[in-house]
Structures are given as C-alpha cells and as structure tokens.
C-alpha cells in the first residue's frame, strides 16, 4: 500500500511539474558558396550556387535556406528583395546527402556588397535555440554606369516632333489650298 502511495505521489509530481525545456538538436549541415567573388555592373544579373550537405547522422528534417545581401562598404541602403525575388528555398536532406541551390541575383546598387545564405530549421517544432549554419560570403563588386543621359535623348525628343509638326502643317496647308481652290 505504501508502495502504491509512493508511486502515485511520484506520478503526481511529474505530471504537475512543468516539463524541462527540450534541448534543440544542433543542425549538422555545411554550406558553401560559389563563386567567391563576383564583379559586375549596375543592373547586371548573375547566379550564385550554394551546395548544402547534411553532415550529421540523422535526417535534417525541414530546413530553410535564406539568401541575404548586405552592403559592406559605405552607407548604401540595401533592400534584398530588389536583389532577388526568390530568397528562400525549403528542403530536407538525408544523412550525407548534398544539394546545390541556385540563386538568381540582380545588382541594383553600385558599391561593395556581400551575399550569404543562412540555413535555419523550419516548421512548428522549432524551439529557437537551434544553431544556424551560414555560408561563406560572396564578395560582389558592382561598378556604376549610366548609359541614359538627357543629352543623348535630346536629338530624338526635338527632331521627331519637329519633323512631324512640319509634315502636319504642310499637309494641312495643302488641304486648305485644295479646298479653297475648288
């Protein structure tokens, strides 16, 4: 009887007490980035690839690879959404499995930037203290260029209306003369 009471007491204690915080499983993965250096001009499009490998002994579960771009020189404001419209890719990897993710990027600011991919766990069971896996930086040098200038457009914006205006005036004048001649 005493034994039963003791068991009941223990069960009661373990039921009422809050469960201890679950220890998050570390993310065993490795991310690389290729190429390491990109040089382009303003508006140039390029692609970087990031091979992700599951280096652990367990399946990775759902993970999310997320691309980010940061300015690493000067005070250029960077809106990563302008650089790439698709910055997140969801995947899961078996132990030892590797997958190459491609990222389409367009350089929309001139300056010196870095792009990197961070891998985070994904899903409702994410605790919040899991480790992140981050790729090496891809250095991006974007040269400024301005092929559009008011001076270049000036001959066209003046000549075309001028020629059409003269043609219209000439045609109207001839039509009026023809009308008054009848």
């Amino acid at each position: 009887m005493r034994k039963l009471l003791l068991i009941g007491l223990l069960v009661g204690i373990f039921t009422v007490l809050p469960a201890p915080a679950l220890a998050a499983a570390p993310l065993d993965a490795k991310v690389d980035a290729e190429p390491a250096q990109v040089s382009t001009v303003l508006g140039g499009r390029f692609k970087i690839t990031t091979p992700i490998t599951n280096t652990g002994a367990r399946p990775s579960g759902e993970i999310l690879a997320h691309l980010n771009v940061a300015s690493i020189e000067g005070s250029v404001y960077v809106d990563p959404e302008d650089w790439s419209s698709n910055r997140s890719q969801q995947l899961s990897l078996q132990p030892g499995e590797s997958r190459k993710l491609a990222w389409e990027i367009q350089a929309v600011n001139a300056g010196h930037f870095a792009a990197y991919v961070v891998v985070v766990p994904y899903g409702s069971n994410v605790v919040g203290n899991e480790g992140l896996v981050i790729s090496p930086l891809v250095n991006i040098d974007v040269a400024s260029r301005s092929t559009l200038s008011a001076g270049g457009a000036l001959p066209v914006v003046i000549t075309v209306p001028l020629l059409l205006g003269l043609a219209a005036a000439g045609t109207l004048f001839r039509a009026r003369r023809r009308g008054s001649g009848r």
Partner: protein, 280 residues
C-alpha cells in the same frame, strides 16, 4: 472619317464605286479611308501630338537619375506602355468616329448605295483606324531606341510593343466601330469610347504597393489593356520568357475575336441610316 472637304459625299462614292469595280470592296474602302485620314492632315496632327507627349515622357525619364538603375528596363517599359496606350487610344477614337461620324455628316447614305458590301465598309474602316496605330508605333521606335540602346532589349521591346499593341488595337478598334454603329451621335460614340478606355486603363494606374489579392488578379486578367501591358512588363522588367506569362494575352485575344466576330455578324444590320438623323 470618310468626309472629304468638298464635295464630301459624291466624290467619295464615285471613288468607291469606280474602285469597287476593279478590286475588292474592303481594299477600296480602306484605301479611301486611309487617304482621307492622312491627306486631310488629321492623322499627322494626331501623330505630332503623340510625338510631343512621347518626347516629354522620354526626356523626363532620361533626366531622372532615380530610374537609372535596373538597366533602364523600367524606363523602356514606361515609354513603351505609354506608346501602346496612346496609340490604342488614337485608334479607338478614329474607329469611334467611323460610322456615327458618317451618319452625322450625312455621308453614310451615299456610302451605302455604293456596290460595296457593308462588311467591306466595316473592314475598310477598321484597317484605316489600325493604320494610325501602326503610324504611332513607327513614331515610338526612335524613343524606345534612345532608352533601350546599350541594354540589349531594343528588339525585344519593339517586337513586344508591335505584337501586344496590334492585338489590343484590333480588339478596341472593333469595339470602337461597334459603339459607333450603335450610337446615333458622334459625340456620344467618342465619349463612350474614351470612357471605356479610361475604365480599362484605371487598373494599370493603381500603385504597385497596394495589396493585390485574387480580386485584383481577376480585374487585371479580365481587362484586355491592363493584361496586355502586364505581359509587356513581365518580359521587359522581370525578365520572364515569352511563354511564361502567355496567359496574360488570352483576354486581348478573346476581345479581338469576340468584338471582331460581333462586328462581322452584326455589322451589316448595324451599319444603316437611322430615323431622325440628317441623311444628307
């Protein structure tokens, strides 16, 4: 639209009658309508105004440094969309004057007694209206060239403008002629056509930052002008392939088929004199 300064109706009908004996009726009407549009100076005046507007937009675009990024694709897209929109508007206005204008000026009766089928009259008037669209497109080429040179999208932009613009212009030209055939007054016909065009252009002017749910998507895809312009943007700005957003062209294509079909089927009954209108 077919009005000649003097003598208005007799000269037209004689030309049409003599020509109809030699070649296809629609060709004769189209030739006469084009001659009327271009030698009277009306077409050239419209083109001149179009070029002034396009010059202003192009100059403002090229002086705006904020638009210099993204390979000037936005600038090319802006000018091309403007050219297509105004070119289509001019086509719609000219076609809206087609039948109701003849009725109002009292020249329709003379045209109806010529040995040309009524469908040929409609076809000729549509071709004349479309000639204005093709002329506006030719005028817009140097402007697009100025903005697109060095970026490598000149050919793509021009091909897009020509294909999408022609499709939309055919559809709206047919609608303009239908409105013109139904309306007794020329003022009503042109006002109704411009009002229709404003309704069709309104969605294209909504700020892109607004939340765009399924209703906006339906509104965009149901609108032949907005969906045609969206197709141009998707290729020029977003760099999509020509097949990727081809569904945007369904509405302009359906509009051209439905309005053109209605014009072919109902045209002979609609192109007639109406009671209470000066028949010359």
């Amino acid at each position: 639209m077919t009005l000649q300064v003097a003598p208005p109706a007799v000269g037209m009908s004689e030309d049409v009658r003599a020509g109809a004996e030699r070649q296809s009726g629609w060709l004769v009407v189209a030739e006469q309508e084009c001659r009327d549009l271009w030698t009277s100076g009306r077409g050239l005046v419209l083109l001149f105004l179009f070029s002034v507007l396009l010059s202003a937009v192009t100059y403002l675009t090229s002086t705006n440094q904020a638009l210099n990024f993204l390979e000037q694709r936005e600038s090319v897209n802006l000018v091309l969309q403007f050219a297509v929109a105004v070119g289509v508007l001019a086509t719609l206005v000219v076609s809206a004057d087609g039948i109701s204008g003849e009725r109002e000026r009292g020249t329709l009766e003379t045209l109806l007694v010529t040995p040309v089928p009524r469908r040929s009259i409609i076809a000729g008037k549509l071709i004349a209206a479309l000639s204005l669209w093709f002329a506006t497109f030719l005028v817009s080429i140097p402007y697009v060239w100025v903005l697109a040179r060095g970026v490598g999208i000149l050919g793509q932009a021009l091909a897009l403008g020509l294909c999408v613009g022609t499709l939309v212009a055919i559809g709206l030209g047919c609608i303009g002629l239908l409105i013109s055939a139904v309306c007794n007054s020329n003022k009503t016909s042109i006002a109704a056509s411009i009002f229709l065009l404003l309704i069709l252009f309104a969605p294209t002017q909504l700020p892109s930052g607004l939340p765009q749910g399924w209703f906006f998507e339906v509104l965009l895809r149901a609108n032949p002008v907005a969906s045609g312009l969206a197709y141009i943007s998707s290729m020029l700005v977003e760099g999509h392939s020509w097949t990727q957003d081809l569904s945007f062209l369904i509405t302009p294509l359906l509009t051209a088929i439905i309005a053109g079909g209605a014009l072919i089927l109902a045209g002979p009954r609609l192109v007639r004199l109406t009671r209470g209108v000066n028949a010359g």
